[in-house]
Every structure is written in structure tokens, then in C-alpha cells.
């Protein structure tokens, strides 16, 4: 019996496609998320908007709280560790987490190196801003990619930028002669073997989801139409005035993302979305997407 092969790790990511992964900070929120139709939850002590407000060092969440959420829901539970903090990842794996997010939302533990994810039994998801970054993470063993966006802002602009960047990079590869691929791999700073696969297949070898700034059903639909295969909603749900209704609306918007009649119907009657913060005005040290490389 072969456990935790790369095939199995990417397999779970496949099962989450067309779904919504929601940030939750306690058992009650986790149940609201599951009842609303979340495909998975991300258990964390503070959602990104509060991490921004709170300041200090953002670390892996208390395992006790993650375990309580794991007991309360039947869907997969994810949790975040700091970039490069493989000891936090070891703890998450030991507690039986379904997916580890090596996340720029937490304060990085290593500014040069990411975790060697192939060594773990648990699958990893990582953020990216462009194709090169995505392929570096896949090279290290990530089984799922997501755009970084700008977490905790409620501003979709960075997620759109990152999704378009990744897609542009893939289209560029597809137009190239074989002779050009090595130079392109060098330019991207990406492993050649994976560059070759992407050039051939015309897509990433792992599912690519959207994250960072999704606050409305329309935002979710936009990201799906731009090519995301599922969405993460962090602060957007529990920082809004109507978490349960909004969560359910976003779930429907992701399944029926090309149907404006559904999008209109689920958008009507929602209370205020999270207030948000323009990503553009953020000082350098508050731009989470710049963490990692």
C-alpha cells in the first residue's frame, strides 16, 4: 500500500475543484462554513484582516483549536504554517491535517528557502504571483497552487493580477519552440522539467485556485472566469455582516460562475461586504504577497 504519493496529494486537490475553501477561527464558524457548502475549511486563530490589524508575529495556530475544528466538521481541514518553517509543518502533519498552506499571510521563518514539501505525507498548497513562482513551489512538492492576491484587504486587484500573470506565462510557453524553453526556464527561474510539461499540456500540473481579496459572489465568479479552478475566501466571509448567507452565495457563484442569472440572484439581498482596504496604498512591509519568492 503506497500512502501519500504525489499522485494522492494532487488527487485531493482535484476533489476540491469547483469548491470554496473558507477561513474559520472557531468551531461555530467551521460549522457555518460546512453548512453553507464549503468544500474545506482553513483553521486559523486570526483571519488575515485581523492579522493585519493585530500586528506582532503571526505563527501557526494553536493545535488544540485546529483539532477541535477537525472534530466538528466532516470536510477536509487545512492549516497554515510559516514560509520555510518545516517544524510547524511537521506538527500539522502529526495532528493529521488534510492540507498544509505554506502561507505568506504568516510571518516568514525563512526569507530565502521554502519547505521541501516532497518530504511530507500531507499535501501542501502555496501562493504564487506568476508562473515562475508557481513552478518553483511545484518543484519543491506543492500539490496545489493558489494566487497570493493581497490577503485581508477585500481588494480583488492583486488576485486578478496574479491569475492573469500565471495564465500569460502558460500561454507564452505554448507559443515557444523547444529551443526556446531552456532560456525561458532560466528567465522564469523555474525547473526545466516542469516548464516542459506546462509547455506541452498548456496548464499547471496541479490545480490552480484563487485566493487573496475575494469578498463577493461576483469576485468569486470573476476569478473562476479568469481560470481559477476553486476559490479560497479568507476574511471576506466572517468580516462581512452576513457570514452564513454570503458563504452560501459564494458557493453557488463558484458552481454557476458563468450564469449571470444565478450571480444576480445570489448577490441580491446580501448585507454589506467587508469594508476592506485598498491593496495599492499598503506600505511595503504590509504587502503580504511580497513574502516568499
Amino acid at each position: 500500500m503506497e500512502k501519500s504519493s504525489y499522485e494522492v496529494k494532487v488527487g485531493l486537490a482535484e476533489m476540491l475543484k469547483g469548491g470554496v475553501i473558507m477561513d474559520v477561527t472557531n468551531v461555530d464558524q467551521a460549522k457555518i462554513a460546512e453548512d453553507a457548502g464549503a468544500a474545506a475549511v482553513m483553521a486559523l486563530e486570526r483571519i488575515p484582516a485581523d492579522i493585519r490589524a493585530y500586528g506582532g508575529i503571526a505563527r501557526m495556530s494553536n493545535p488544540e483549536m485546529i483539532l477541535k475544528i477537525k472534530e466538528a466538521v466532516s470536510i477536509p481541514v487545512m492549516a497554515k504554517c510559516r514560509i520555510g518553517h518545516f517544524a510547524e509543518a511537521q506538527i500539522l502533519e502529526e495532528l493529521g491535517i488534510d492540507f498544509i498552506d505554506e502561507s505568506e499571510v504568516l510571518t516568514p521563518a525563512d526569507e530565502e528557502n521554502h519547505i521541501w514539501k516532497h518530504d511530507f505525507k500531507a499535501p501542501f498548497v502555496c501562493g504564487c504571483r506568476d508562473l515562475g513562482e508557481a513552478l518553483r513551489r511545484i518543484g519543491e512538492g506543492a500539490a496545489m497552487m493558489r494566487t497570493k492576491g493581497e490577503a485581508g484587504t477585500g481588494d480583488i486587484v492583486e488576485a486578478v493580477r496574479h491569475m492573469r500573470e500565471v495564465n500569460r506565462g502558460i500561454r507564452r510557453l505554448q507559443t515557444m519552440d523547444k529551443e526556446e524553453l531552456m532560456a525561458e526556464a532560466k528567465r522564469l527561474g523555474a525547473p526545466f522539467s516542469i516548464v516542459e510539461i506546462v509547455a506541452q499540456e498548456g496548464r499547471l500540473p496541479v490545480p490552480n485556485f484563487a485566493a487573496g481579496g475575494i469578498a463577493t459572489p461576483a469576485d468569486a465568479s470573476l476569478m473562476m472566469q479568469l481560470g481559477a479552478e476553486a476559490v479560497f475566501v479568507g476574511s471576506g466571509i466572517f468580516k462581512s455582516d452576513d457570514p452564513s448567507a454570503r458563504a452560501e452565495a459564494i458557493v453557488k457563484a463558484v458552481t454557476y460562475y458563468t450564469d449571470p442569472a444565478v450571480l444576480l440572484e445570489v448577490s441580491k439581498g446580501l448585507k454589506d461586504a467587508m469594508f476592506g482596504k485598498p491593496a495599492k496604498g499598503l506600505p511595503d512591509d504590509e504587502q503580504l504577497a511580497k513574502r516568499g519568492w
Partner: protein, 192 residues
């Protein structure tokens, strides 16, 4: 050309569609009741059974799916097997109850307990490399259903006339034998 629907509420529908294409059938994405109209068969893919339960009844009713499965071929993998079967006590999940088999959700534990293993098929002498992801278990097979694949002596795929249910994910491997079996023994037979 046979038209086979893939329920695309949530989950691994894209991989099933790819496999169907390689078998010279036409995959049809199913999200609305009207999508079921001209289909020769339907696949309910893996994904989260709670999510599929929650969303059915919105643009595609339970009754439509139930009526379809009464006389047409349906193949459920993982979450799809749970939906076809019976006996799930979790109130978060609703089942069609058409396949005479008792299914336990997520019976092997969390993701790190997921595995790949060669299984034995009743209709082919060569083993099948099967991917089990947070997989359900077939606890009991009723007298209406027959076992068509086993792993360590336990049923992992069962068939009942035009209905087929697998606890694993044949769509994640490049081996097309199980989809081919579904088409030859369930889809084309149901049309006769």
C-alpha cells in the same frame, strides 16, 4: 456518439470528462435539470458529498437525478458512490439509495491515510492501480448488487444493473478500463 454527463456541482468532474473523451464518447457537463435530457449515462464524481448534497435542489433537483437513475446508467466514484448507496447516518449527506450497498463516509481517516493500491477486477485478469482519497468503505453489499472489484477481499466497486459505484478514483489514472466497463456494461445495456 454516446453522450455521457458528468455532474459538475463540485469535485473532480474535469478528469472524468477527459477520460470519457479518450473513450470516444462525448462528455456533457451537468449543472441544470435540462442538461440530463439527452444523456445516455451520467457520472457522479468525487468531491465533498456534503457540498453536492447542499447544492442539489438549486438548479438540479433530487427528483430529476432520481428519475434519471431509475432507467439510465449512473457511475458514482467516491462521493458519487456515497450518493448512489444507502445507510449513511450523517445528516449532512443525502443519498439516492438506489444502489443496494451500505456506505461509510471517509472510512480510512484523514488525507495522510489516503493511498494507492492494486485491486482485483472481476472482469479482467490484470490488477487495476486504484487511488483512494479520504475514501468511503462499502460496508455491506445487498443481494441486488454484485461485487466487481475487491481490495484485500473487501468490495471496492459494485454494480447493480445499470448502476456502478466505486470507492476509488479511476479518473485519476490513465487506465481507462473501468470507464470502458461502465460504457459497455451499463450505458449501452440501459439503452436497449
Amino acid at each position: 456518439m454516446l453522450q455521457i454527463g458528468v455532474l459538475a456541482i463540485q469535485g473532480a468532474f474535469y478528469k472524468h470528462a477527459e477520460t470519457l473523451k479518450s473513450l470516444q464518447t462525448q462528455p456533457v457537463i451537468v449543472k441544470y435539470a435540462a442538461d440530463l435530457a439527452h444523456l445516455d449515462g451520467l457520472i457522479i464524481p468525487g468531491g465533498e458529498s456534503t457540498v453536492i448534497t447542499r447544492q442539489l435542489g438549486y438548479r438540479l433537483a433530487w427528483e430529476d437525478l432520481y428519475a434519471f437513475a431509475q432507467h439510465k446508467a449512473v457511475f458514482g466514484t467516491c462521493a458519487g458512490l456515497i450518493m448512489l448507496g444507502k445507510g449513511c447516518t450523517d445528516p449532512r449527506v443525502r443519498q439516492l439509495g438506489l444502489l443496494d450497498a451500505t456506505i461509510e463516509r471517509n472510512a480510512y481517516g484523514s488525507q495522510i491515510e489516503s493511498f494507492t493500491e492494486d485491486i482485483t477486477l472481476s472482469f479482467d485478469e490484470h490488477p487495476f492501480h486504484a487511488v483512494f482519497i479520504r475514501a468511503p468503505k462499502i460496508l455491506k453489499v445487498g443481494k441486488e448488487a454484485e461485487i466487481v472489484a475487491t481490495f484485500r477481499g473487501e468490495a471496492v466497486m459494485v454494480r447493480q444493473k445499470y448502476l456502478l459505484g466505486a470507492a476509488f478514483h479511476p479518473e485519476l489514472t490513465h487506465d481507462i478500463r473501468i470507464h470502458d466497463y461502465f460504457i459497455r456494461h451499463c450505458v449501452t445495456q440501459s439503452g436497449k
